[in-house]
Point group: D2
Chain length 150, copies 4
């Protein structure tokens, strides 16, 4: 059976509490032996990937740019799309579940795609959209995400 | 100066009041000599295109499918992308302003992209997202959209 | 019945003889009341669109960029994709037939997509790929393209 | 330094000699500790991924479909794009070098994109396009690909 892939979505710039949550989410995903997928850039994406790497996880970054060197340093597998925001669809399609930590409009587009596709979306301090499963912290979010995968 | 392009976004199935608003929005866009762009399918997209055609407007449909014959009958220029939901980005990019009439998750993704790109989004009975300019009816929506273009 | 859409594909920079052929191809497409679709940029794309406009045709440009202002001045309907070279697929998908005039690697990708999709590809001084129908000049190319559409 | 990513491109159905070469190419890529990227489907893509797995390599499949379950069984990391043939651009963008084994029109589009991007393309029994570096067998192809990466 192929490993589960969990997306962590959020903004490219975020404050310290949000980044700490994202990093913890990344750690917990790796500890459960799932792959982490994200947008590959800074902010929440980088924090989550960093967290996963501290636990020896594998991280995938789906980049908007044409050049894979734009990925943050915690990305093991940078996928250079050159599709700009169009890459957001790919993150939603590839993930088995998504965890949204904070987030701006780009994150909202990923939430919308994932809900349209019927994927579970767990939200921590994120957009208030019907269909999102709320969580208070990293542990609860990852716990809920994995409940949907079993 | 090239003509302005206004997007009408909304769900592929909608109730009668929503469809009537969409058709009226399409009519008013054409009357102001702007091009109408939409997702090219049924529901709000078809109603808006139908409205534009009754006023002799030109309609563009950006289709998720690979085959342009999937466009509704009121589309003059069907663009077959084969990109699935990824085509939503193209609608937001190409429009000078967007008018959202009702709408489900797909529409939400278009709203998110447009707001991220800094485009004006006018909403009638649609998602309640910060940054959307609310309108009560078709006339007010089109009026507000064009205020942003001048 | 919707109008036929003919793509003219070729490089963004080209020599004078190639540009003259592209312009003539554009003229002949418009004279037969078909829409012209192209990549929206300079060189062969601009020459073909210019030709179509001299005959009152309608021109569509599928742009790699995020901003539709990057289209050449002869494009009536600029579609801003932001998908970079990924937009080449859209041109092949949307066209009923393609006419390749000269061309570099980008053009080759469009030829490949079109042939894979089973679309007729007419070539003037272009890549030598099995499946391309050769033509000596603009008139012959447009003649052959329309034979496939009837 | 991030690991190198080598693409193996080729048709979804191929004869036994071509499949054997593809499998050997996959094996040699993994033996040199590079990642293998491919289109994730059958034929040459599956044979190359199978070869890489026999050597403990890591395999990435960039799928045209919306569902990652469409990947062949040797793909470790299936990326579901939903972009149809548009995914070919992503393979070319993400690879440091490409090895083409046989191949039909889809493969030709990948060759064209890669050459346009200035990436090295090694070809075994494939399209005869200027810019391709020819190789007689798997070993020579992989050897030449890695020469470009150092």
């Amino acid at each position: 059976m192929p490993p589960k892939i969990i997306a962590v979505i959020g903004a490219g710039t975020a404050n310290e509490p949000i980044l700490k949550i994202a990093e913890e989410v990344g750690r917990l995903i790796a500890r459960r032996n799932a792959l982490l997928i994200c947008g590959g850039l800074k902010g929440v994406m980088e924090a989550a990937a960093k967290g996963a790497k501290t636990e020896g996880g594998l991280t995938i970054g789906i980049l908007p740019q044409k050049n894979k060197n734009e990925a943050n340093r915690y990305i093991d597998i940078p996928i250079a799309t050159g599709f700009g925001e169009g890459r957001n669809v790919i993150i939603a399609r590839t993930a088995d579940a998504l965890i949204s930590v904070g987030g701006e409009y780009g994150t909202l587009s990923e939430i919308a795609f994932a809900l349209k596709m019927g994927k579970p979306v767990i939200g921590i301090r994120t957009w208030d959209i019907k269909g999102i499963i709320k969580a208070e912290n990293a542990e609860e979010a990852v716990q809920k995400a994995f409940e949907f995968l079993s």
